[in-house]
């Protein structure tokens, strides 16, 4: 797993207070990890801060799973 993936996972565990084992790539923040809409906004803001990236509103809306977040950030970092 990449550094980015590790860090994303850590942030999710911390913010949502879920077991690390549940934070699989396909886990949906809302359906599997018990997040509400405010949680997802807070997560996106935490990602922005941790990775020094800006995630615009339309991109943020498409980030539904752990993998979505990792992919988006990796793409931004590679650019």
């Amino acid at each position: 797993m990449s550094d980015i993936a590790d860090k994303v996972k850590k942030i999710v565990v911390e913010h949502l207070g879920v077991e690390e084992s549940k934070v699989t790539p396909d886990a949906s923040f809302i359906d599997d990890l018990g997040a509400d809409s405010l949680d997802t906004v807070e997560l996106v803001m935490a990602f922005e801060e941790a990775f020094s990236v800006e995630i615009p509103e339309d991109a943020a809306e498409k980030i539904a799973t752990v993998k979505d977040a990792i992919d988006y950030i990796e793409k931004q970092k590679a650019a």
């Binding site: 509400d36 405010l38 807070e42 803001m45």
Partner: protein, 246 residues
């Protein structure tokens, strides 16, 4: 009742009549208060009279960066996270609309509406995470009734109400409440300049037969800041002696 022991409160415009009364009452209930304003000597004097648990943070809220940074600054000097934000700072640039300059409009919007938003936004980030907090903004009866000569001020104060209702909906699921206190005519240096004739007429329109005191407003803020007001959000508490029953 209404104990605020251990809580940190930030009061903007604390060098003014109403702001000082708010700070004083929150302090009496046990809160640590950070007094913010532009006039350092006045803030320092108030802090000295309060004694312990009173700190000052000078800030000019017409400056976006200073408004954005004030919550963090207050938390830093107090060494604890913010529990209660009181958006009290405000200014007026009264004149009839046909004579109103762009600057009269924009200054009032910046200080009376935009800076409360900046402060609330900064405060909410931590409050949502901690799942507790109180945001109380001081509006005005004229935000509801309108007032000739105050198109800018009335618009900003009405804006505070709409903003607070929206924030209340966003923050409600985290137990953070957002409310408004709307004072009527209050005895302050701002109203001292009114002529006796105007004053008599104003008092005549108030069923309770007197102008309000800064403490009348501060009591409403103290209530909304308390644990006891935990199921009250998105509301506007009118403190106006019955002048406008809305």
């Amino acid at each position: 009742m209404f104990s605020l022991s251990g809580k940190l409160a930030l009061v903007t415009g604390a060098s003014g009549g109403i702001g000082a009364a708010i700070a004083r009452q929150l302090h009496v209930q046990g809160a640590t208060v950070v007094l913010s304003g532009t006039r350092e000597p006045a803030l320092q004097e108030l802090a000295d009279s309060l004694g312990e648990r009173a700190l000052i943070a000078v800030a000019n809220l017409s400056d976006a960066a200073e408004a954005d940074g004030l919550v963090a600054k207050a938390e830093e000097i107090a060494g604890q996270t913010l529990d209660i934000l009181v958006n009290n700072a405000g200014l007026t640039r009264d004149t009839l609309a046909i004579r109103m300059k762009d600057a009269d409009w924009s200054q009032v919007m910046t200080v009376d509406l935009e800076s409360p938003f900046r402060l609330a936004r900064a405060a909410l980030k931590g409050m949502l995470r901690r799942r507790s907090g109180r945001i109380i903004s001081i509006a005005s009866v004229v935000g509801t009734t309108g007032n000739a000569g105050q198109a800018n001020y009335a618009a900003a104060k009405a804006g505070i109400v709409g903003m607070s209702k929206s924030l209340a909906q966003e923050a409600g699921p985290r137990g953070v409440t957002v409310n408004v206190v709307a004072p009527g005519f209050i005895e302050t240096p701002m109203t001292d300049v009114l002529s006796d004739g105007i004053r008599e007429k104003l008092v005549g329109s108030i069923p309770l037969g007197r102008m309000g005191s800064p403490n009348d407003v501060a009591s409403a803020v103290t209530y909304l800041a308390s644990e006891e007001a935990g199921w009250v959000t998105g509301t506007t508490l009118h403190v106006n002696g019955g002048m406008a029953m809305v």
